[in-house]
Structure formats: structure tokens, C-alpha cells
């Protein structure tokens, strides 16, 4: 029993880490640009598929480094051509445009890589269990948790100690003032979008190693990421991180006792948060 519980808590933590990576990217974009990126799941799929294509040339590690960067470049390009036109308009248009974009990306990946599920191989030494007793502790899962931790730490450092990050945070609070102070806001939003998409691409490569690849891989992750943001509180990145881990673990634990409710529980959590504290756990009052 303890082992089963531990297994599911750990599993939940991994799934939660995915949610958190996705949700952090979404949150970054939403906070600075006011656009909910429905196509985030699509960018996740692009990251995974690019890695799949790159593995034969660069190996797993090379793909892990290069694929998210390429995804981020695609993101930057998309921002320049499409997303940029949405700034300052009713959020309705952002939702609709990225919604259409999500359709196009899903269909595009299907066209390029096929509709069937593709296997994504990870190095052998990563896929074997670390101990016999705790069979679920494969190297890959531990590695994933480590990598996500590293990515979150890096994001924290970027946002707090680099010029770009400080400007992003300042822009989140008051974009007009930042602009008046001589920062090129267009470039800032562009890079910020790329940063958010980078996180989606990274999550895509990791998800490919665990879940395999199909064009709809991002679909199952995007809704929980929304909920992670709502639970954690709009406008708060630490909140988003906590929200993601929390709903991941909660659905993991629920799947021990009541498997069919493992998806429902995250919605129950969202409802509870909205009733007790509508701005979310870490959200600032009156921001939205």
C-alpha cells in the first residue's frame, strides 16, 4: 500500500511538473501580453516532434538541447507575424486566433509526421529502474524531475538577476512606464513569448520520452495547465508553479483510492479555490 501510494505521489509529481512547465510558459505570456495561448499544447507537440526528427543526427542529448530552442524560434516568428497584432485588443481575439493556430499546428504535425503514434527512444541507462523495490523510480523519471527543477531555477535566475528578466517583471506590473523608460516593448514581448514557448518545447521533449508522440499530445496537458494557473492565482509565477505541482499530486493520490476521479479532482480543486479565494492561492487582489 505504501509503495502504491508512493508510486502515485511520485507519478503525480512528474505529471505536475509537466503542468507546471506548461503553465509557467502560459503565465509568462499572459502576464506580459494579456494573451491566453491556446496553441501552447501545439508548441509542446512541435518540441516533441522536432526532437524525434533530430535524435538520429544529434542523439538524445543534442535533441534535448536543440529542439526546445528551435521551438522557441518558431514561437518568436509566430509572435512577430500573428500574436503581435492582438496586443491591446479584446482578449476574445487572442483566444480565437490562438485557437485557430492550435488547429493548424495539430493538423500540420499530422501532415508532416503522420497521425499514428511514434515511439521516442531514450538512452537505455535512463530507462531502467534504479532499484528493485521501488520499480517506478526509473532513471528517466528522476532525470525529468531534476531537469524540470533546473529549468524552473534557471527561469527564477533569469527573471530576478538578468536585465531581460527584470524588464519582463516590470512590464508585467506596468508596461507603459517601462516603455516610457526607453525599453523597446515590442522586442521585450517578443522575447518573452519565445521564453514561454521554450518551456513548452522543453516539456514537449520530456513528454515525448514518457508518453510517446501523437499530434494530440498537448491536448491533455493544456486544460490542467489552465487550472494550475487559476489555482495558483493569475499574475503569480510562484503560484503557477505550486498550482501545477499541487494538482498533479492531487490527481496522483486520487488515482490510488478512486481511479476514475483522477481527472475530476483537479476541477473540484479549482471550484474550491474559486469559492474560497477567487483570485487563486497566490493571486494579487483586484488584478483581474
Amino acid at each position: 500500500m505504501t509503495q502504491l501510494l508512493l508510486f502515485n505521489v511520485f507519478n503525480g509529481l512528474i505529471i505536475g511538473a509537466f503542468y507546471a512547465l506548461m503553465a509557467l510558459g502560459l503565465s509568462l505570456i499572459l502576464n506580459l501580453s494579456g494573451v491566453i495561448n491556446f496553441a501552447h499544447g501545439g508548441f509542446l507537440a512541435i518540441g516533441g516532434y522536432l526532437a524525434y526528427t533530430l535524435v538520429p543526427y544529434l542523439g538524445f542529448w543534442g535533441a534535448l538541447v536543440v529542439a526546445p530552442v528551435l521551438t522557441a524560434f518558431i514561437g518568436i516568428l509566430v509572435e512577430r507575424v500573428l500574436i503581435r497584432r492582438l496586443y491591446g485588443r479584446d482578449p476574445l481575439y487572442g483566444l480565437l486566433l490562438t485557437f485557430g493556430l492550435a488547429f493548424m499546428i495539430e493538423d500540420g504535425t499530422r501532415l508532416i509526421w503522420g497521425a499514428q503514434s511514434l515511439p521516442f527512444s531514450i538512452p537505455d541507462w535512463l530507462s531502467s529502474p534504479l532499484s528493485n523495490e521501488y520499480f517506478f523510480l526509473t532513471g528517466y523519471r528522476v532525470f525529468m524531475v531534476l531537469l524540470v527543477t533546473l529549468a524552473v531555477a534557471a527561469l527564477f535566475v533569469i527573471l530576478n538577476y538578468t536585465r531581460l528578466g527584470i524588464r519582463i517583471r516590470a512590464g508585467t506590473l506596468d508596461l507603459e512606464t517601462v516603455s516610457v523608460l526607453g525599453v523597446n516593448v515590442r522586442v521585450l514581448r517578443n522575447l518573452n513569448f519565445g521564453l514561454g514557448i521554450y518551456l513548452a518545447g522543453l516539456a514537449g521533449v520530456l513528454a515525448a520520452g514518457m508518453l510517446g508522440l501523437q499530434p494530440t499530445v498537448g491536448d491533455n496537458l493544456i486544460m490542467p495547465s489552465f487550472i494550475a494557473i487559476i489555482v495558483g492565482g493569475l499574475g503569480s509565477l510562484p503560484g503557477t508553479l505550486v498550482g501545477g505541482l499541487l494538482i498533479g499530486v492531487a490527481s496522483g493520490v486520487t488515482s490510488v483510492f478512486f481511479p476514475s476521479a483522477s481527472e475530476a479532482v483537479i476541477y473540484v480543486m479549482m471550484a474550491a479555490v474559486l469559492i474560497v479565494r477567487p483570485r487563486g492561492l497566490f493571486g494579487e487582489e483586484g488584478r483581474f
Binding site: L30, G34, I36, L82, R85, L86, R89, D90, P91, L92, Y93, L95, L96, L97, F99, G100, L101, A102, F103, M104, I105, E106, D107, G108, L111, M223, F226, I227, I229, I230, L234, S260, E263, A264, Y267, M270, A271, L274, I275, P278, F288
Partner: protein
């Protein structure tokens, strides 16, 4: 462009709708397509009650559309083989669910409201998907069909006669459209417009804004579940895809495409969208790309919608 009188426009719309089964086949359509346009138009108009006339963006209306459809289908299949009873149960299910969800979201605004409606919408999708002993899961509810409409003195065969079903749907549509027009013209509807234009000012005037938004939300979901009930009857089938989030997106794009600020806008949007979807999905496998591209193009080039453009041009 000569300015179209409001009454002439209304008369034109009704004349076109009433005669549709007779001219549709001559322009390459079919009667069922007309019924589908009506049903989606009702859903989009219901959404627009909230979006265009209250100024609140819901991206989760498919859930209540689906609840209306499932309520109707399950009632006719298991409980009572009667079309009106099935519809009634479906409509009540959808409306009741919306009334319950309402208080949790009416305090939120803008993007936050949209996100929460999407997320809550998915709850019902998952229930329909997972609770397979009742809902049939991914396979949906099949092996039932709409029943003849028994009026006491005569019985109308809705199943075998396409035109009869079209006129049945049109009658329901007319009742709903009239009800919405009446509500929008009433002091309540005017208050909703005031909230849309300036929420803070409305609040200062002593209007209980949250309660009005809740009422508008429930009314909007009521009419969308009517559309859902008709949708189940049209197809004699429901599956979870009827209530997935992409369905909500379809309703929103129809309202935007036709013109959010006008009463008949969503009808025009629905007609364009459904005809286009019907054509594209019969021509190519990659209809998703086309629909996606269509969304992008509408946002970039037609944000005011067809009627929005016409109205602006009509102004001197």
C-alpha cells in the same frame, strides 16, 4: 449602401428562413444543412446574449449545449420516448448546471472569466467521456431516434420527413429568438447593455452587477441547451465531441464572424461557418487546417463581423 430598415431586415430574415427548404436544394444545399444552420445559429445567438449584449466572454458554452443534447438523448432512450419531454429534461439539465456553476464565476472578469468557463466546461466533457455505463463514453448515445410530435388531434412525423423537422426546429428557434429579443428590449436587457458599456458606472447606479451577469449567463445557457436538445434530435445521436472546447470556439467564432453587436449577426456567422465546414470537410482531409486558418483570418481581417462592416459603411 442603402440603410436597411430594421423591420425590413427582420421580415427578410424570416422570409428566407421560412422558405429555406424550398430554395436550399436549388443552390446546392440540402434540408438537413438548413436545420444544422438553424441549430448552430440558435447556439451562437444564445452565446451572443452574453458576449455581445452583456460584454462577458464565455468559452465554455459547448458544455451546456452538450448537457441539453445528452439530457434529451438519454431521456428518450431510457425514460420516456417522447420528443418534448426529452427536450424539456435536456433544457432543464443544461440550465440547472449553469445556474450552479454561475455563482463561482460571476465575480471574475475578462480573460479570467473565459479561462474558468473553459475549465468548467471540460468537467462535463470528462463526465460524459468517463461515465460510460450511462453515457456510452466515447461511443456516445446511439440506438434511439426522435419521436413523432403528438399534438392530440394530429401527429407530425419528425423522423422520416426532413422538412417537418426543419419547421419544428424553426418553430423552436422562433420562440427562442422572440424571447431573447423581448428580454433585450426590456429594462433588464437595457441594464445588461449598461453593464457592457461601463460596468463601474452601472455599479455606482446601484445595479447589482454580479446578479445581472449571473442571470444573463443562465439565460444564455438555457437557450444554448435548447440548441443542444435540437442537435441531439437532428442527429439521433450524441457523443462527447458535442461538448468539447472546440465546439465552444465554434460558437464564439460564429458570433464574431456575423457581428457581435447585432441581433442577427450570429445567424449569418453560423450560416457561413456551417456551409464552409460542410464544403471543406467534403473536399479535403485537412479540414482542421482550413478551419484554423479561417479563425486566424477572421480575427485579423473581420473582427467586426459581416454585419459590423455593413453597419459601419451604412453610417454617413
Amino acid at each position: 449602401m442603402p440603410k436597411l430598415d430594421k423591420r425590413t431586415a427582420d421580415a427578410l430574415v424570416w422570409a428566407l428562413l421560412l422558405t429555406a427548404p424550398f430554395w436550399l436544394t436549388h443552390v446546392g444545399g440540402y434540408v438537413e444543412l438548413g436545420s444544422r444552420v438553424l441549430i448552430y445559429a440558435l447556439a451562437a445567438m444564445a452565446l451572443n446574449f452574453l458576449l455581445g449584449f452583456t460584454g462577458v466572454l464565455s468559452f465554455g458554452h459547448a458544455a451546456y449545449f452538450g448537457l441539453g443534447a445528452y439530457g434529451t438523448a438519454l431521456t428518450i432512450k431510457y425514460l420516456c420516448p417522447s420528443t418534448p419531454v426529452g427536450m424539456l429534461v435536456g433544457i432543464l439539465t443544461g440550465t440547472f448546471a449553469a445556474a450552479l456553476i454561475g455563482p463561482m464565476i460571476v465575480r471574475l472578469r475578462g480573460v479570467y472569466f473565459a479561462m474558468c468557463t473553459i475549465a468548467f466546461g471540460q468537467v462535463f466533457y470528462f463526465i460524459a467521456f468517463r461515465w460510460s455505463s450511462v453515457t456510452g463514453g466515447d461511443d456516445g448515445v446511439s440506438a434511439w431516434h426522435r419521436m413523432p410530435l403528438d399534438l392530440g388531434f394530429t401527429s407530425i412525423d419528425l423522423l422520416g420527413n426532413n422538412k417537418a423537422f426543419y419547421y419544428f426546429a424553426l418553430a423552436v428557434f422562433a420562440v427562442c429568438a422572440a424571447a431573447m429579443a423581448f428580454l433585450l428590449g426590456s429594462p433588464f436587457g437595457r441594464t445588461l447593455l449598461a453593464i457592457r458599456e461601463n460596468e463601474r458606472r452601472a455599479r455606482f447606479l446601484g445595479i447589482p452587477v454580479d446578479r445581472h451577469i449571473w442571470a444573463s449567463w443562465v439565460i444564455s445557457c438555457l437557450f444554448v441547451s435548447v440548441a443542444g436538445a435540437l442537435y441531439a434530435l437532428l442527429n439521433d445521436f450524441v457523443d462527447p465531441r458535442a461538448m468539447r472546447w472546440d465546439q465552444s470556439g465554434n460558437f464564439v467564432i460564429m458570433a464574431v464572424l456575423g457581428g457581435m453587436r447585432s441581433f442577427w449577426g450570429p445567424l449569418i456567422g453560423a450560416a457561413i461557418f456551417i456551409v464552409l465546414q460542410d464544403y471543406v470537410s467534403s473536399e479535403t482531409q485537412n479540414w482542421m487546417s482550413f478551419i484554423g486558418l479561417f479563425f486566424v483570418l477572421v480575427v485579423l481581417f473581420f473582427p467586426r463581423g459581416v454585419l459590423g462592416i455593413i453597419q459601419r459603411k451604412a453610417k454617413p
